[in-house]
Each structure stands twice: as structure tokens, then as C-alpha cells.
């Protein structure tokens, strides 16, 4: 059973460009959350997708957007990249019906903006 997968592993972009990160949830999971983790910090919640809709959002600008597909996989898009967007982007999946809301994390995508 494959866990949460993310692609690409690393990405280097220039300021002002746009980027798309991808995530496939663990089998049986229907909810995907995205986090931004700056170096030496804890993950910061970006948004969560369930039933192909964004239902929660953290304190991130509209430059950050996403999508969830019918197979529960998800994309994170960031427009007009800033240097401060350089971080590790983590995807976490979970099952909506689970009481404990245990999240399983992917290995992350390291985004560097130059």
C-alpha cells in the first residue's frame, strides 16, 4: 500500500513565476491538507480539500490555490512567486470518517525561489 506521494521532490523557480505541486493521498483517504514548512519551523496550514472543494484555509494569500480531483489527488498552485515562498511544502492525507483525524504526510516538495 503506497503512502502519500508528492512530486516533484525539488523545484527551483524564479520570482514572479508560477508553480504546481502534486500530491497523491494514501489509499482509502479522501481529505488532503497542504502545509508550508519554512526552514527550522513547524508546518503552517495552507488549506484543506475534501470532496473536490476547499473547505478550510489558513492565513495565506490568494496566490496560493489548489484543486482536488475525483481520485482524491490534489494540486497546490502558487502564482507570482516571492522569495519568501521558498520552503518545504507538505501534503497530508486523512480519512474524514476517522475520529482521531490522524494525518499521513508525504515526503514534501522543496521549493526554492531565486
Amino acid at each position: 500500500d503506497a503512502g502519500v506521494t508528492q512530486s516533484p521532490t525539488h523545484l527551483i523557480k524564479t520570482r514572479g513565476q508560477q508553480v504546481t505541486l502534486r500530491c497523491s493521498p494514501k489509499s482509502g483517504h479522501d481529505t488532503v491538507s497542504w502545509y508550508q514548512q519554512a526552514l527550522g519551523q513547524g508546518p503552517q496550514f495552507i488549506f484543506q480539500y475534501y470532496e473536490e472543494e476547499e473547505r478550510q484555509r489558513g492565513n495565506f494569500p490568494d496566490r496560493f490555490s489548489g484543486h482536488q480531483f475525483p481520485n482524491y489527488s490534489s494540486e497546490l498552485n502558487v502564482n507570482a512567486l516571492l522569495l519568501g515562498d521558498s520552503a518545504l511544502y507538505l501534503c497530508a492525507s486523512s480519512f474524514e470518517g476517522a475520529l482521531s483525524y490522524e494525518q499521513y504526510f508525504g515526503p514534501g516538495t522543496r521549493l526554492t525561489v531565486t
Binding site: E102, F105, G106, G108
Partner: protein, 117 residues
């Protein structure tokens, strides 16, 4: 808003010894979940242990156990018989519900654990 505080940026422990990582949180809720996650240098975050707030018994998973003090809003992680593979960043996390009734998880800033051979 819920906050999670880890006051120890770095800790070290001798191999085979015991270490305790601290975590405090702020909440007005009565029912919630707390988690400790481990993030090794390879980056993948792994759930170490979870605690349900309504359960008085402290959770235990092999060498990992917690000291959950609900009134004090404290949730520390004890690692016994430390092994080299325990070296990692450890994050304390709190599960809450937002105004829409949806679950969200708030993480602390992490504690970097070094295991000395």
C-alpha cells in the same frame, strides 16, 4: 485561536538514556486530540503517538510515552532507551475544530533531538 508551544528548540540525549520533550498548548475546548510527530532528516513526517483528551490514561507506544496533564495543558513526550534512529525534529500538534466545524491541526515549532552514541 489554539496555540502550541515547544520551548526546547534543541535537546540531546545519550544513547540508551531517557529524554523528555515538552509541549504546552492553549485551548478552550474540552475534547480534542494531541499528537507527537517525528520528522527525520529525510523529511517525511511520521506520527509517533496520539492522546485523546477525554482519556485520563497516558498513551504509550513501545519506547514512547506521554505525560498528559489536561488541567495544566501540558503534553510531554518521553523517549526511553534512546536509539540513534530517534534523532529527528519532533513536533507537538493539536487537533481542533474551526468555526465551520472542520478539523484542523496546529503544530508547534519543533524540538531537534540529537542522540549521542
Amino acid at each position: 485561536a489554539q496555540t502550541v508551544t515547544q520551548s526546547q528548540p534543541e535537546m540531546s540525549v545519550q544513547e540508551a538514556e531517557t529524554v523528555t520533550l515538552s509541549c504546552t498548548y492553549d485551548t478552550s475546548e474540552s475534547d480534542y486530540y494531541l499528537f507527537w510527530y517525528k520528522q527525520p532528516p529525510s523529511r517525511q513526517m511520521i506520527l509517533v503517538i496520539r492522546q485523546e483528551a477525554y482519556k485520563q490514561q497516558n498513551a504509550t507506544e513501545n519506547r514512547f510515552s506521554v505525560n498528559f496533564q489536561k488541567a495544566a495543558k501540558s503534553f510531554s513526550l518521553k523517549i526511553s532507551d534512546s536509539q540513534l534512529g530517534d534523532a529527528a525534529m519532533y513536533f507537538c500538534a493539536y487537533r481542533s475544530f474551526d468555526s465551520g466545524g472542520y478539523q484542523k491541526v496546529t503544530f508547534g515549532t519543533g524540538t531537534k533531538l540529537q542522540v549521542i552514541p
